[in-house]
């Protein structure tokens, strides 16, 4: 969009950058109420409505909606929660893991749905908020389960290692579990969505510029840029669902790790 404005003003090609992620507020004087904020709210409404209607009248022979809802729920329950946390205690954490998965998946897929086309998670604040919940939960579970001293002792001094290695291992394990885990968890989601959205606007806006401003052969070559943009859109769908899966998977792994006595 910014490119069209620039082209009309007669300036040169302006490559897309991180500035394209700063969106103006929808209502004037409400600085925080931007498009991604609205999208996050809408996604919650969509998800609640979808799963409410999917689970409202369960039948022995499921309707299409019930089948879709049960398919997603069954996948998270079976492959993410039960296989990793263990069949004894996974039900306590299933609501968290399932909510994270569907919320992140829908907000990511917003990135390629026509007319929305902005992944909510490409703004660092949203992944940080989600990661904060996960961080509190797995540390809280670890402290509840093993006691505050036992939790840090099991974390920093895993058994079966020569004692002189602990000089190196103990601080590394502490930093890794308490600081690096939340950092990588939020940055992974953010950077994937940021890079994916940037990739798409590079191809689409580049193609648009070639078509509108180019001469002769350059106009024809813009077809290549648009084709690449379409291919990348489908690739993004894969990445977006995969990132939601990885976020939920890592949440389950961290919780499972905090519950078990040794790693």
């Amino acid at each position: 969009m910014s490119l069209v404005v620039l082209a009309e003003e007669g300036e040169g090609y302006n490559p897309p950058g991180s500035g394209d992620f700063k969106l103006p507020p929808i209502i004037e004087n409400l600085e925080w109420f931007t498009k991604p904020y609205l999208m996050a709210l809408i996604s919650v409404v969509i998800l609640v409505a979808f799963f409410y209607f999917a689970a409202r009248k369960p039948k022995m022979v499921p309707s299409r909606l019930q089948f879709a809802g049960e398919g997603i729920y069954g996948f998270v329950r079976r492959d993410l929660a039960r296989d990793i946390i263990g069949s004894a205690e996974f039900m306590k954490f299933l609501p968290l893991i399932f909510s994270l998965f569907i919320f992140i998946a829908l907000n990511n897929v917003f990135g390629i749905i026509p007319f929305i086309q902005f992944p909510t998670m490409s703004l660092i604040g949203f992944p940080i908020a989600l990661t904060l919940i996960v961080w509190i939960v797995y540390n809280w579970v670890g402290i509840r389960r093993q006691g505050p001293i036992g939790y840090f002792k099991n974390m920093m001094f895993p058994p079966g290692v020569p004692s002189w290695v602990y000089i190196l291992l103990a601080p590394l394990e502490l930093v890794s579990t308490v600081f690096v885990r939340p950092l990588t968890l939020s940055l992974r989601l953010f950077a994937n969505m940021f890079a994916g959205h940037l990739l798409l606007i590079v191809f689409i806006l580049g193609g648009e510029y070639m078509l509108l401003e180019g001469e002769g052969i350059v106009k024809v070559l813009s077809i290549g840029a648009f084709a690449m943009g379409i291919v990348m859109t489908f690739f993004e769908l894969l990445v977006q669902v995969l990132q939601a899966y990885i976020f939920a998977l890592l949440t389950a792994l961290y919780i499972a790790g905090a519950m078990s006595e040794e790693h």
Binding site: G17, S18, D79, D83, I84, T184, L187, R188, F190, A191, N192, F194, A195, L242, Y245, I246, L249, L250, L253
Partner: protein
């Protein structure tokens, strides 16, 4: 030519994780090909390794924009 060296730096930083992700999925495919019933066990391990290796490349990407 215009631009910043950040893009070149990011390209260099992506070599290591690229090789790493390739090795992880090569091992995963081999494992499933040899023993198809191990697929459900290997899948979360493969994706966990993929996510950890990929994180390095993403740090590079973030730094390319931040610096």
């Amino acid at each position: 030519m215009e631009g910043t060296l950040n893009a070149v730096g990011y390209g260099l930083a992506a070599i290591g994780p690229g090789i790493g992700v390739g090795l992880i999925f090569a091992a995963y495919i081999q494992g499933v090909a040899r023993q198809p019933e191990a697929r459900s066990v290997l899948q979360p391990i493969a994706f966990l390794g993929f996510a950890l290796a990929e994180a390095l490349a993403l740090f590079g990407l973030v730094l390319a924009f931040v610096l």
